[in-house]
């Protein structure tokens, strides 16, 4: 299982990456995709309704076996969604930290990563059983 060092992790098994332009990329972790199994549908936010509060529903990810909601790890505006996932949802299984990203957000807080976990902390959480 992969735990890259260049992202921050949430207890809800999401990751955040800070970009140079101040935007935040959000996705789900390797552990999360593995738990879901074969992913077949991803419902992303409609770009006409894009300001989310922390913990508001951001996406819905459906695998063969189950459906799971993804809640926004930060408050902010969704500025870009990964439309490629509509045609190739399996990318989320194959490359959760790369091509499997979900959205780019413009955070409303100064420090969007406050309170989030490092790779080592998240690895510990997952090894304790999530």
């Amino acid at each position: 299982m992969e735990f890259p060092d260049d992202v921050y992790y949430t207890t809800e098994h999401e990751w955040l990456r800070l970009e140079d332009d101040g935007l935040v990329v959000v996705g789900i972790t390797d552990y999360a995709q593995e738990q879901l199994g074969d992913i077949v549908f991803i419902q992303l936010p409609d770009l006409s309704d894009v300001v989310l509060s922390k913990d508001e529903q951001l996406a819905e990810i459906e695998s063969v076996k189950t459906v799971s909601e993804v809640y926004s790890p930060i408050s902010g505006k969704v500025v870009k969604v990964n439309n490629d996932l509509a045609d190739g949802p399996e990318v989320l299984n194959e490359d959760p930290y790369g091509y499997g990203w979900l959205v780019h957000m413009e955070p409303s807080d100064d420090d969007p990563t406050a309170g989030l976990m490092s790779a080592d902390e998240y690895r510990d959480l997952v090894s304790e059983g999530g």
């Binding site: 199994g37 074969d38 077949v40 549908f41 819905e60 459906e62 063969v64 076996k65 459906v67 299984n93």
Partner: protein, 361 residues
């Protein structure tokens, strides 16, 4: 996971294979070993080996065993020859389905009935109540393992291990000697593919599982879990108890009229079923192709804005590459212009004939 879940004789084998275990009907069972889709596709193109040891087995023996079977089960069993198996339903007097079973006629006066894991206790009480005074009823569940080998390569693989296995015809069964013990080999399954089910003593399960896995590996046969078992049976239009079958669903509603024999009045529930057949079932089981979302059990089926039924099972079909579902829908409802309410999103769903998938022969 609950620590109280029962374990099949292959529990340790599944853990060694890094299976993801889930609780199902009180049993700790493998959901998947690698990926549901990968295991599903292996069964469609090569083969998969399944642990189905959670299923129950009960034997009915004696001169009156056939009378008991015909009273308990809906199918035409009196004509069943020795060495043949038949699917059927066990119903309440109301016609509701207590379980769906396969009856194997092993000897002239000896029948084995395969039961769903979640129903074993109630089934056994019912069978004992209605048959116990007339014939010998023996629960074999605890000492019987069930390994299923399913897929186009199944006959080749099993032929290497059991002489003449490939010659067994569909729904035939035969006792064989395996590792010095008697086992029952049947050309039956729950995937829509060719394949076998092997009932064997629990103590032999691990050795036989490994032998099948080793013989199958070069041909692409892999272990497959309950996840793939569900997508495979759904594509094949096969009912699952608790979904398409339940106490408040009749076999006729579930589209299983061909397993309700002509003289059904001699079976428990037969009067009700005969009357229902006369007037036609109130609901029908339909195949649906929901557009752009997976409809799952319990989701409402709509005709316009009117609720006309409910989804009984739904998944992503790996073979079709799209969502499929089965639904129980009011018989008088239109079959065009239906839609499904998937968590508040209304998705159009075309009606299609079941099964969704038919194997190439």
């Amino acid at each position: 996971m609950s620590g109280s879940a029962a374990r099949t004789p292959l529990y340790a084998t599944h853990l060694d294979a890094s299976a993801r275990m889930v609780e199902f009907s009180g049993w700790s069972m493998p959901l998947q070993y690698s990926s549901i889709v990968k295991e599903h596709n292996a069964v469609r193109t090569a083969g998969g080996v399944f642990d189905a040891s959670h299923m129950g087995e009960v034997e009915l023996r004696g001169p009156a065993a056939i009378d008991a079977c015909e009273q308990l089960f809906t199918s035409e069993l009196r004509k069943l020859r020795v060495g043949r198996a038949k699917y059927g339903l066990m119903c309440e007097p109301s016609g509701g389905v207590m379980d769906d079973v396969i009856v194997y006629r092993i000897e002239e006066q000896r029948y084995m009935v395969c039961l769903n894991a979640g129903n074993v206790e109630t089934d056994l009480a019912w069978i004992n109540e209605h048959a116990g005074s007339r014939c010998e009823v023996e629960d074999r569940s605890a000492d019987t393992a069930l390994i299923a080998l399913q897929g186009p390569a199944a006959a080749t693989v099993l032929g290497e291990l059991v002489d003449g296995a490939a010659n067994l015809s569909r729904f035939a069964c035969r006792e064989i000697i395996l590792e010095g013990e008697t086992a029952l080999l049947a050309r039956t399954g729950y995937t829509g593919e060719d394949g076998f089910e092997l009932f064997l003593p629990s103590a032999r399960a691990e050795g036989v599982w490994n032998a099948i896995a080793d013989a199958g590996r070069p041909l692409g046969v892999i272990p497959a879990g309950l996840g793939a078992r569900d997508t495979l049976r759904l594509e094949a239009g096969l009912p699952l108890y608790g979904h398409e079958l339940a106490l408040d669903i009749s076999p006729l509603e579930a589209g299983l009229g061909r397993f309700v024999r002509d003289d059904i009045k001699t079976a428990i529930g037969g009067e009700t079923l005969a009357a229902e057949r006369e007037r036609g079932p109130a609901r029908l089981l339909l195949g649906l192709l929901p557009d752009g979302a997976i409809a799952r059990q319990g989701h409402e089926v709509l005709a316009g804005d009117k609720v006309v039924g409910r989804v009984t099972s739904g998944t992503h079909s790996p073979s079709l590459g799209r969502p499929v579902a089965m639904a129980l829908v009011d018989a008088e409802s239109a079959t065009v212009g239906l839609s499904v309410d998937v968590r508040g999103r209304i998705k159009p769903a075309d009606v299609t004939a079941l099964p969704f998938y038919v194997r190439q022969r």
